[in-house]
């Protein structure tokens, strides 16, 4: 109780302090030459925020909606504080913007460049990532099934699956550009290669996860391979498969962006990042990174949401 009351008092105080610090750091006398006193103030704020946050996360309001709100507050405040630190350090210590731009600059750039960002997003995420992700995950899944269905192939396919597991992006990207041209299909192909292995390994492990008694039941019904697969083994494998989908959701994005370093039409998140780096427009680079982070997190969140619905019975969702 004590802890949470302290949190309720401390949180607004910390917020006020942060606002004051932000104001201070942007004033010409402090920006780039913040003194010891300023940093001491920041450290105090840090401590206050840490105490406030841990108190907040222990808060258990009776009301369900309030509880949801509290649950949402913690990560948001945590993130906001990270951004605050970033801003204060970059501005206060005068870090050159070519190394690390301030969040405020990035935000400004983000808003100012929305049309460009949208075009890049469509090119990279919608075209390359989504198509590559779907094909790659499907391919990994299907190969796992084939390997499972045909024991003879299993011992041949799985080692070969391992073989393609680490085909590095920078190796395959130029080849894919050569084969599939400059536009998004070559990036999608890179994503396919990158997402294939996690899905393969996880599906194989998932298909082996069903217990003996559950198998015996199917056996006693003389259920065929496919019936057993659909009614028993796939449900049991779902938690594994969703792990792969989650891992791949971020991997696909990295793959597509990196692949654009190796030849692309003049649009795309990777293209923008690579050219803006050399133009030293790090604020634009970080605006693209922010876009990638937002898109990736939403993508991941959707996968996690579907997972919760599909594997509600798994012990990890039963507290």
């Amino acid at each position: 109780m004590n802890v949470s009351r302290r949190a309720i008092v401390l949180t607004p105080l910390a917020l006020l302090g942060c606002a004051y610090a932000l104001n201070l750091v942007h004033s010409p006398t402090v920006a780039g030459q913040a003194g010891l006193g300023f940093w001491a103030f920041i450290i105090v704020l840090w401590l206050a925020a840490a105490v406030a946050l841990s108190g907040l996360s222990n808060l258990r309001p009776k009301n369900l909606n309030m509880r949801r709100l509290a649950g949402l507050c913690v990560p948001i405040l945590f993130g906001a504080f990270l951004f605050f630190l970033w801003e204060v350090i970059v501005v206060g210590a005068g870090v050159p913007s070519v190394l690390m731009p301030a969040p405020s600059a990035i935000g400004g750039r983000f808003v100012a460049s929305l049309p460009v960002l949208l075009a890049d997003f469509l090119q990279t995420f919608v075209k390359s990532v989504l198509s590559g992700y779907v094909i790659g995950c499907l391919a990994g899944f299907l190969v796992a099934i084939i390997a499972d269905r045909i024991p003879f192939l299993r011992r041949g396919l799985l080692p070969l699956g391992n073989f393609v597991s680490a085909l590095p992006v920078i190796g395959i990207a130029p080849i894919m550009v050569m084969w599939f041209g400059f536009d998004w299909p070559s990036k999608a192909a890179v994503v396919v290669v990158m997402t294939f292995f996690p899905m393969l390994v996880n599906t194989v492990a998932g298909l082996a996860a069903a217990g003996r008694l559950e198998h015996d039941l199917m056996h006693s019904y003389a259920a065929g391979y496919w019936t057993t697969l659909v009614k028993l083994r796939l449900p049991v494998a779902l938690p594994f498969i969703f792990n792969a989908l989650k891992i791949n959701s971020t991997l696909a994005l990295i793959g597509a962006i990196v692949a654009e370093f190796f030849g692309t039409p003049i649009v795309g998140m990777g293209f923008r990042i690579s050219i803006e780096v050399s133009r030293m427009s790090l604020d634009m680079v970080w605006a693209e990174i922010a876009l990638a982070a937002i898109a990736g997190s939403i993508f991941y969140g959707l996968v996690a949401l579907v997972e919760r619905g599909a594997t509600f019975w798994h012990p990890s969702y039963r507290t």
Partner: protein, 309 residues
């Protein structure tokens, strides 16, 4: 006690940077009382970023990218310009029927970005071709690291360097008469390549200027040596290439071609006329994100060159 100097190159170890490797290998730096570390670059390395982060004392960069960095707050100053001429050109397959720059209209062109696109943009602006993919312009591809797009016919023309990619096209079975080349020098849009840049505030320190003077002089000695012994320079490059991927044939040719671009008269001292021409080209490049928006001030200095005894 030798002075330590770290130089960040713009690209991987190859004869393009032979002067520095030769100076190190032949002991020119040592004679000058310097202990030099040469850091090779790569597609992922932006020399201005490295120098701003304190990773190098001096960097090799192309002027457009250096000036872009300067506008973004990394106060780079050109202290020497060993390369007098630009080696960049656009190489087209003759069979496409391209004969003059006017024929480029509507074609697919491979262009290097990463700061190297400005001369191209300036040229297109001069020709009146749009580069944003709209009708009546040219179709631009961000070219990768090699000449495959030309060979695979994915592009009609690609960017090449006289000392490197052009020969890769030749090696791929093209005869010179099957190619049409447009040198940026000839098109009047050449920009300065491969200059030496340092951080502006460091130049206030006379000791640093003296050290750089020693460095530039010793490097120049290296370049002179390259010009006279291109084959030996190529060997030195091969010895220093950690990737083990370079071939002797290619590096010898590159050293020979590089020699043609070097400044022989000014001994690496930047000619303000070349500088002005580069600025003019860049200011003409237009587009919605121009590399520089105004004429830069103090972007070059003869302090180091003048300090050379």
């Amino acid at each position: 006690q030798a002075d330590k100097v770290t130089i960040q190159l713009k690209w991987v170890t190859q004869a393009q940077f032979a002067g520095y490797y030769v100076a190190k290998d032949k002991g020119f730096y040592k004679e000058a009382g310097l202990d030099v570390t040469v850091k090779p670059g790569g597609p992922d390395i932006a020399p201005p970023q490295v120098i701003a982060g304190g990773g190098a004392d001096v960097v090799v960069d192309w002027m457009p990218s250096a000036l872009a960095a300067r506008e973004k707050g990394v106060a780079l100053v050109n202290i020497a310009q060993p390369f007098k001429r630009s080696g960049m050109m656009l190489t087209c397959r003759a069979e496409t029927g391209i004969k003059s720059p006017q024929d480029l209209k509507g074609r697919t062109l491979g262009v290097w970005f990463s700061g190297n696109e400005y001369p191209f943009l300036a040229w297109m602006a001069k020709l009146g071709f749009k580069t944003d993919g709209s009708a009546g312009g040219v179709k631009v591809l961000k070219q990768g690291f090699n000449v495959d797009p030309l060979i695979q016919k994915q592009a009609d023309c690609i960017s090449t360097m006289t000392y490197n990619e052009y020969w890769q096209v030749i090696d791929a079975g093209f005869k010179p008469e099957q190619l049409v080349v447009f040198k940026y020098e000839d098109q009047g849009v050449a920009t300065l390549e491969d200059g030496l840049y340092v951080m502006q505030d460091k130049l206030k320190d006379p000791a640093f200027v003296a050290k750089m003077a020693k460095f530039v002089a010793a490097s120049q000695k290296g370049w002179d040596y390259v010009r006279q012994n291109p084959d030996e320079a190529a060997k030195i490059i091969l010895d220093n290439d950690a990737s083990g991927a370079q071939t002797e044939k290619h590096q010898k040719r590159m050293a020979a071609e590089i020699a043609k671009l070097l400044d022989t008269a000014g001994k690496g001292k930047l000619d303000p006329a070349d500088y002005d021409r580069t600025i003019a080209t860049l200011l003409a490049s237009g587009g919605d994100s121009p590399v520089i928006t105004k004429k830069p001030e103090g972007a070059w200095s003869h302090a180091v060159a003048d300090a050379i005894k």
